[in-house]
């Protein structure tokens, strides 16, 4: 099995601040891999660095056996796409859903745009009734579905998910998580998913990496977490916190 994505001793530095301190990971093709941590742990930075949105100071990123340079080419974007955390901020406020979905097709010169837009909207469960709406006419869940459709329309093999449901209501979150799982199964996608919520990561991913202040704390499988086989105190704390408030009388 080849690694769809591998990151080797990656360092990201913003104005002298080391946001990532030599993080390595390997995601197999078709696998769903989770990154867990609190704010400032560097989990989102890692995702953004892979996407080319954060300055890489050293280390390397390899996608499907090809090492990435400082500049990403168009082929990269057809391989890797991303869904952002905030569905209210990730859709252009002056564009209709139709325009949003057309843009990637226009950039990459696809001719069968009409059919692809239809299919993408159907796939995320929106249907054509939503096609000519502006983002302010959509609910949070619908917006996130549009964002997923936009990421899928170029038919990537790797999807980077940056807390895709943390801004959504619990019931909508369940729908979006189900949709993501179904899409992954159908398209045999590789997921790299970031979340602060251990329960979501264990639900969605087979393997995960716990992060803290720019470093990897430990690598686990979902089964490890379920059976509480964790070695580090930090992870244990996260696990305890995910069970809710316990009154210490």
């Amino acid at each position: 099995m080849t690694a769809a994505l591998s990151v080797d001793r990656l360092e990201v530095v913003f104005d002298r601040f080391r946001a990532l301190k030599g993080v390595s990971l390997e995601v197999q093709s078709g696998e769903s891999f989770g990154l867990v941590g609190e704010s400032g742990s560097g989990k989102s930075t890692l995702l953004r660095a892979i996407a080319g949105l954060a300055p890489v100071a050293s280390g390397s990123i390899t996608v499907s056996g090809k090492k990435l340079g400082a500049r990403r080419d168009k082929a990269f974007y057809r391989e890797v796409q991303m869904v952002f955390q905030d569905p209210y901020g990730s859709l252009h406020p002056r564009q209709t859903v139709d325009r949003l979905l057309q843009e990637p097709l226009a950039i990459h010169g696809f001719a069968d745009g009409e059919k692809r837009i239809q299919r993408a909207l159907d796939e995320v469960g929106l249907g054509t009734g939503f096609r000519f709406r502006y983002s302010h006419q959509l609910s949070g869940g619908q917006r996130q579905r549009v964002a997923i459709a936009r990421a899928l329309i170029l038919e990537p093999s790797i999807l980077l998910l940056d807390e895709p449901t943390s801004a959504l209501d619990a019931s909508v979150q369940a729908e979006v998580l189900n949709l993501l799982e179904e899409i992954r199964r159908r398209r045999k996608l590789t997921f790299l998913m970031v979340s602060h919520d251990l329960a979501i990561i264990t639900h969605m991913c087979e393997r995960l990496m716990v992060m803290q202040s720019g470093e990897a704390v430990e690598h686990l499988t979902a089964a490890d977490l379920v059976e509480r086989r964790v070695t580090r105190d930090y992870t244990r704390n996260l696990l305890r916190a995910s069970e809710g408030f316990v009154r210490t009388a």
């Binding site: 619990a170 369940a174 998580l177 189900n178 639900h203 696990l239 916190a241």
Partner: protein
């Protein structure tokens, strides 16, 4: 001030909040009734359920264009809807306090944390500057800020989210309110910090015998923290039950909400989703 644990602090009967818009009137809260003693009451609902507007209406912070009506809205026997704006202002902060989600927006960015706490105290009580400072420092210590003297002089942007929320709690509790409304007080915080803040809130509320209304979208967190839970949907209360009884919730909405969250160890693919019935909103 009587701190009789059985007395009713707040009575809400048929509370309605309506917003006039260009396309018609939007009823954000449609006849909510409950009463609060010296206990922890959770109000849970998803966005648009009217839970925050309920809290704001009680605080008197509803936007001016909206209309608030109720058969009864009384705090400790004072009719809040009949009270003059001045009386309500006096109640706010002194006897009723509110904590909002993000301390960054609720604290004044150009004033040091200590001064904000001192100012809050001095608007409600006539105390000397020195005494106010001592009490502010003691309050910062009570919210488990390790080095109160240092934090006293910091500005809000110089502290972390968890620290800011603690400072906010200190500011709200300094005048010794009898009732507190906390609107998503920990949603912007990391999970571990969240529990620390909740622990502080919990201890202060029980030590001082306050009534607490805890507004949140997180049903599981609320049920682990509160004594009683009110579940709201589309501006109405769909279910009211003891937190310990949550497992025996009757309403399909409550059960759906509980069910649809991923749990560690529960292998459910796909997750059960909520099938919203129009009659819930009726």
């Amino acid at each position: 001030m009587s701190r009789d644990p059985t007395s009713t602090l707040l009575e809400v009967d048929d509370l309605r909040v309506t917003f006039p818009t260009r396309t018609g009137r939007i009823e954000a809260v449609r006849g909510v009734s409950f009463s609060l003693g010296r206990e922890r009451l959770g109000i849970v609902g998803e966005s648009g359920s009217g839970k925050s507007q309920t809290g704001r209406a009680i605080m008197g912070l509803t936007p001016p264009q909206a209309e608030v009506t109720a058969r009864k809205l009384a705090f400790d026997g004072i009719d809040l809807l009949a009270a003059s704006p001045r009386d309500r202002r006096a109640l706010r902060g002194k006897r009723i306090a509110m904590i909002l989600q993000d301390p960054k927006y609720s604290l004044d960015p150009v004033m040091s944390i200590g001064r904000q706490i001192v100012e809050t105290l001095r608007t409600h009580e006539r105390v000397s500057q020195a005494e106010a400072r001592d009490r502010a420092l003691a309050m910062l210590e009570a919210v488990q800020i390790r080095d109160p003297a240092r934090v006293f002089d910091l500005h809000p942007h110089e502290v972390s989210g968890g620290m800011g929320q603690r400072a906010m709690i200190a500011m709200m509790l300094i005048a010794g309110p009898e009732m507190m409304i906390a609107d998503e007080p920990t949603s912007a915080l990391d999970v571990t910090v969240q529990l620390d803040v909740l622990g502080i809130l919990d201890r202060l509320v029980s030590e001082r015998g306050m009534g607490l209304i805890f507004i949140s979208h997180d049903l599981r967190l609320v049920s682990s923290f509160c004594d009683r839970v009110i579940v709201m949907y589309a501006g109405k209360v769909v279910e009211q039950l003891a937190a310990s009884e949550l497992g025996r919730a009757q309403h399909p909405y409550t059960r759906g909400l509980l069910n649809c969250m991923p749990k560690i160890g529960a292998d459910r693919h796909p997750l059960p989703v909520l099938d919203r019935k129009p009659e819930w909103a009726a």
